[in-house]
């Protein structure tokens, strides 16, 4: 009587669990099939191995539960005395080997397809920084090379629960990577500081971005859309806050977009040539500071000592401007200070250096022009 009550409870629990599972969206609990031939192969491999495990599990656990029900002392059974059986042991060694070979086959062919990179129509360099991605559309003509940073768009208010979290919380960026559909795109993945990992689940691509290495991955996306992922390798404080967002568009739309970007890049180049006023530099500088510096050095310049020194009244920020610019451009080895020379444009660099010297409680009074910064940059190269 007591026993059956137990079973009834178990059945109720099981029903509750399965019904809540049925209510859940399948894609909340399983791998995504994705939008490339490779990602579908990976999904199929995943489901194959999953079902293989389920079948083995049902057999093993089934035998076990039968044994636990039948072979219990309370039923008055006498224990058997066997303790080996060579045939049985050979069988359960050989069968798993055969199953493994059967699984290794599709795994190997899928991997071979992934590594068959061939010629690509478009090369994009993906560079990891703490905590953002930089995308460079590699072009033989440097004037046509498009390059931009991709920062997370979710504001601190949402993260710190002061504002309602919107759709794509933590998965939205200011500048998504734009790629054409039905085109073989190759990614050249590297990092400028620590190890990151560039992961787009819908493409079944996850590749570590490692300083000193350039790794390749490729994809042919079949459907236009926004594809979202995140950095997968622990890369420091804001590891959770460097999403990967890729916008796949039809090739003609991509061409239009690229032309616009190239025109903008040319314009940017021209602004570098002109003489900037202090007001222009300060206004731009504040913008850049908030986006690129305030994370560590804080909005008011107080920093987080000792790792991130204060800028207010700092030795560098109030000393000779060349020394200050050198650190901003080239970073400081052995510390978390990055080299911003290849992350920001010359105008942005000049602006933020000028801003740091004349705001945040500093008032040195001098300024630096984008042209000068550019000279420093080309000297470094």
């Amino acid at each position: 009587m007591d026993k059956t009550k137990h079973y009834r409870w178990l059945i109720a629990l099981w029903l509750l669990m399965t019904s809540s599972m049925a209510g859940a969206d399948w894609w909340d609990v399983n791998l995504r099939e994705g939008v490339t031939a490779i990602s579908r192969d990976v999904y199929d491999l995943h489901m194959t191995i999953f079902w293989v495990c389920v079948v083995i599990g049902v057999i093993v656990y089934g035998v076990m539960f039968v044994s636990m029900v039948l072979h219990r002392k309370s039923r008055g059974v006498q224990p058997a005395t066997f303790h080996e059986n060579t045939h049985l042991e050979i069988i359960w060694t050989v069968i798993p080997v055969l199953i493994l070979i059967a699984i290794a086959w599709p795994a190997t062919t899928t991997l071979r397809d992934m590594y068959d990179s061939g010629d690509s129509t478009l090369d994009i360099k993906v560079t990891g920084y703490q905590w953002k991605w930089q995308y460079t559309y590699v072009n033989d003509d440097p004037a046509k090379e498009v390059e931009f940073m991709s920062n997370m768009l979710t504001p601190p208010d949402e993260i710190e629960n002061r504002a309602a979290k919107r759709e794509y919380y933590l998965l939205d960026v200011d500048n998504p990577l734009v790629i054409p559909t039905d085109t073989r795109v190759r990614f050249l993945i590297t990092s400028e500081d620590v190890i990151h990992s560039w992961w787009v689940p819908d493409f079944a691509i996850k590749k570590d971005a490692i300083p000193g290495f350039v790794h390749t991955a490729w994809t042919i996306v079949e459907e236009p859309g926004m594809y979202r992922g995140q950095c997968a390798e622990l890369c420091g404080r804001d590891h959770a806050f460097m999403p990967v967002v890729v916008r796949a568009v039809p090739p003609d739309e991509y061409e239009t977009w690229l032309a616009e970007q190239q025109a903008e890049a040319r314009q940017e180049y021209e602004t570098m040539e002109k003489e900037w006023t202090r007001e222009e530099l300060m206004a731009k500088g504040e913008e850049v500071y908030t986006q690129s510096c305030a994370n560590c050095h804080k909005a008011n310049g107080e920093g987080i000592p000792p790792a991130f020194p204060p800028l207010t009244g700092g030795e560098l920020t109030t000393g000779p401007i060349e020394g200050h610019a050198d650190i901003v451009l080239n970073g400081k080895s052995g510390t978390a200070m990055q080299a911003f020379g290849n992350q920001l444009s010359a105008a942005e660099l000049a602006a933020v250096i000028t801003y740091e010297r004349n705001a945040l409680g500093n008032s040195v009074g001098d300024m630096i022009q984008p042209k000068k910064v550019n000279e420093m940059l080309s000297r470094a190269e």
Partner: protein, 532 residues
Amino acid sequence: MSAVIEEYHHDHQHGPDKGILRWVLTTNHKDIGTLYLWFSFLMFLLGGSLAFVIRAELFQPGLQIVDPGFFNQMTTMHGLIMVFGAVMPAMVGLANWLVPMMIGAPDMALPRMNNFSFWILPFAFSMLVSTLFMEGGGPNFGWTFYVPLSTTYGPPSTTFFIFAIHLMGVSSIMGAINIIATILNMRAPGMTLMKMPLFVWTWLITAYLLIAVMPVLAGAVTMMLMDIHFGTAFFDAAGGGDPVLFQHIFWFFGHPEVYIMILPAFGVVSQIIPTFARKQLFGYDSMVYATASIAFLSFIVWAHHMFTVGMPIAGELYFMYATMLIAVPTGVKVFNWLATMWQGAMTFETPMLFAIAFVILFTIGGFSGLMVALVPADFQYHDSYFVVAHFHYVLVPGSVFSIMAAAYYWLPKWTGNMYDETLGKLHFWLSFIGVNVAFFPQHFVGLAGMPRRIPDYALQFADYNMISTVGAFLFGFSQLLFLFIVIKCIRGGEKASDRVWEGAHGLEWTIPSPAPYHSFNTPPRDLSDAHS
């Protein structure tokens, strides 16, 4: 002269010293085993409290409780403390208590070194934990401490972390030497290697793994130390070094390390299941060979932790095939346990419940292990919560459950008293439910794309994270019940017989309960009952 020697013999104490010095100066394997076990339980609670911080932060999306930098310190310390402070010392504690009794020896072969290898640990862990209070915080780069995050970008306390790792390594190596020396030299006459209890076998093999890989870890952290302080560039790409080399070295240590944590667990379960099935262990020989094969394979599969670092396809394929092979000896073990249960006459006391749960849940971890072995699929699983679910399934209901099974199984022998069976079963069921509620949903969020080691996550992962947190707290608080049961058992209870369990076999059950301070002053002659 001989009179002097006689006198010395008469003065020799045949019981423990009194007071705190008993524990500080002890060279007795049982005392040291007890110290190891209590220390590991303390670390288990400490590592568990850090897990509470992690799970509490992940209860809901958004940052509620801690700063992301501190969160990273929590995940790092949780991993380090659980691996090096909880699971490993608990296994060494079991070896200390049980190996001499199981092989009919009076004590460990190197008792003074035994004392030293334990007493290093409190210092090592005090130093490690103290980093949390240092300027710049404690280690925040994950328990795998990949460079350059742990070198160029690491907090100043990294140096203390390195020294703590060195100390733990020294302790482990000394413990392993002691265990090997004991097993190879001090077995009762007539106990050949193939007559040893399986727990002794698994520990013999584990000890060799420890001696092989702890120096590798020491090498890795020493190179880090040089990179940080002495201007070398072993791992710094800017100086001609190689950050991936660090990962190869780390995982050459790290993969055998995971078997160091699971092989003694296999040993424990292989002792318990035959006892409560009242039937001899099925396939003793194949168990020994399977353990040895797993140990050998553990040295040649390390880069399966690194499928995404950009190895050439030949490397990926080799490490995939080698890893898949591990499923064969592991499967043999599971089938042997199953065949031991089959047609036995089982009863389900607490140790048996934990042992059966071990077989079931470890197998789930084995299945997901097979999945992550497949390179193309691993590109999706890697560094996601799926991996977190995988290794927690093999470590918590794997290693940790086996330690609890062992504690319940041998507590009557250690204390002379039976533990409270009703409370023991309650502890089991709370732990069993807690573990599954905590870790099973992590498979789901991992597959759906949630990366590991993040303090905040996208909204679609919210439900399962909430469930997981509830389970983690249930599991964590149930361990206070375990503490209560153990203390209650030490303080009193129904007196245990020498044999304790109807179906128990092994030399440890031939001596009185509680086991006398020195068990086998003369080697036992009757070995007919040496293993199950």
